[in-house]
C-alpha cells in the first residue's frame, strides 16, 4: 500500500511537468523572446547535463570518464555518427579502467 502510494505520487509529479507545457503551448503563437528562449533550451540543457555531471559519471575515476568523453567528442567532431561516438567513449573508458590508469 505504502509503495503503491509512493509510485502513484511520483508518477503524478513526474508526469505533470512533462504534460502541462505540451498541452498549453503546442498550438499557441509565442512572442519572439519566448520562442528564442525555448529554442535555446536544448543547448543550455545539454551543457548543464554534461557539466559537471559527466566527469563524475564513473565514481572514483574522473580521468577515465573525461578521456572517454573526449574520445566521444572527437569522434562526433570528425563526423562519426551517434553510435560510433558513444562506442568509442565507452571503449576508451573501459580501456582506462582495465589498464587501471585514471
Amino acid at each position: 500500500m505504502k509503495l503503491f502510494l509512493l509510485v502513484a505520487g511520483m508518477t503524478a509529479v513526474t508526469y505533470l511537468p512533462r504534460l502541462i507545457p505540451l498541452l498549453s503551448l503546442s498550438d499557441r503563437k509565442l512572442p519572439p523572446f519566448v520562442r528564442r528562449f525555448l529554442l535555446y533550451i536544448p543547448y543550455t540543457a545539454l551543457g548543464a547535463l554534461i557539466i559537471p555531471g559527466a566527469f563524475q559519471a564513473i565514481p572514483g575515476h574522473p580521468l577515465a570518464a573525461s578521456l572517454g568523453l573526449a574520445a566521444s567528442g572527437l569522434c562526433a567532431w570528425l563526423g562519426g555518427g551517434l553510435i560510433p561516438a558513444v562506442a568509442s567513449g565507452v571503449g576508451v573508458a573501459f580501456l582506462m579502467l582495465w589498464l587501471q590508469v585514471g
Partner: protein, 239 residues
C-alpha cells in the same frame, strides 16, 4: 522563418533509429536500478512499477535511497517534483517546435519526455512530428523497462568493469549530440558552455539541490541568449 520548419518532417522510422542509442544507454542503468531495488527488498512488481509508471531514472534512484534511509513518502514525492521541474522547460521547448495539430496523442508524447529523449529529439534537423516522438520514446522506454526486469531477475549479468564504463554512455551521447551543433554555430557552443559553467558554479556554491541548479542554469543561460541574440543572427551563423 526558422530552419526547423523548412526541413521535412521526421517519420516513425527515424524515431526508432535515433532512439536506439538511448535504449542501449538505458539498459545497463536500468539493470542497476533493478538490482538496487531488489537489494532494498522491493517485490518484482513493485520494482517494475517504478520504471513502468514513473520512467525517470534520477528520481527512481533517489526514491530508493530515501526509502532505505526511512524518509516519509510525502517528502520523497516533493523531492521528485523538484528534481523534475526541468522537464517543464524541456516539454515547453518541444511544444514550440512540434508540427501537426493532432492533440490526441500529446498525453502519450508527454509521458516519454526524459533528458535523453528530449536531447535527441531537440537536436534533430527535421520537423518534430508526433509519430517521430512516439517512436523515439517507445524505443527508449523499452530499454528502461526491460533493463529493470533483467536487473531484478538475473542481477549483475554485466561484469563490474563493463558496468562502470557503460556509466558514461548517456553522457557520451549528450556530448555526441552537442558537438555537431556547436560546429554549426559558435553561439550554440557559448550557450551550452555558459549553462554548464553556471551549473558547476551553483554546484560549488552548494545553495540549492542539484535539480534546482540544473533548472537555474538552463533558465539563466537561455534568458541571456534570448536577450542578447536575435534568432536570425544564429540562423545566419548556421548557414
Amino acid at each position: 522563418m526558422s530552419k526547423e520548419s523548412s526541413a521535412p518532417g521526421l517519420h516513425a522510422g527515424d524515431g526508432f533509429r535515433t532512439g536506439f542509442p538511448i535504449l542501449v544507454g538505458y539498459f545497463p542503468i536500468a539493470i542497476a536500478f533493478g538490482l538496487l531495488a531488489k537489494s532494498a527488498t522491493l517485490t518484482f512488481g513493485g520494482s517494475l512499477s517504478f520504471s513502468v509508471f514513473v520512467f525517470a531514472g534520477a528520481s527512481q534512484f533517489m526514491a530508493l535511497n530515501l526509502l532505505k534511509t526511512g524518509v516519509a513518502i510525502g517528502e520523497i514525492i516533493i523531492a521528485t517534483l523538484l528534481l523534475n521541474f526541468r522537464h517543464l522547460l524541456m516539454s515547453a521547448s518541444l511544444a514550440a517546435r512540434l508540427e501537426g495539430r493532432n492533440r490526441r496523442f500529446l498525453p502519450l508524447v508527454a509521458f516519454g519526455v526524459t533528458d535523453e529523449t528530449f536531447a535527441v529529439a531537440a537536436t534533430q534537423e527535421g520537423g518534430l512530428t508526433i509519430p517521430y516522438l512516439l517512436a523515439l520514446e517507445v524505443t527508449a522506454y523499452s530499454g528502461w523497462v526491460s533493463g529493470t526486469a533483467v536487473g531484478y531477475l538475473i542481477g549483475g549479468i554485466l561484469p563490474p568493469l563493463v558496468q562502470a564504463s557503460l556509466g558514461i554512455g548517456l553522457y557520451a551521447m549528450f556530448v555526441a549530440l552537442l558537438i555537431p551543433q556547436c560546429k554549426k554555430a559558435r553561439s550554440i557552443a557559448a550557450l551550452a558552455l555558459g549553462a554548464g559553467l553556471i551549473n558547476a558554479l551553483l554546484g560549488m556554491a552548494n545553495l540549492l539541490s542539484g535539480g534546482w541548479n540544473l533548472v537555474a542554469a538552463m533558465l539563466i543561460a537561455a534568458c541571456l541568449g534570448a536577450a542578447f541574440r536575435k534568432e536570425d543572427e544564429m540562423e545566419e551563423e548556421r548557414a
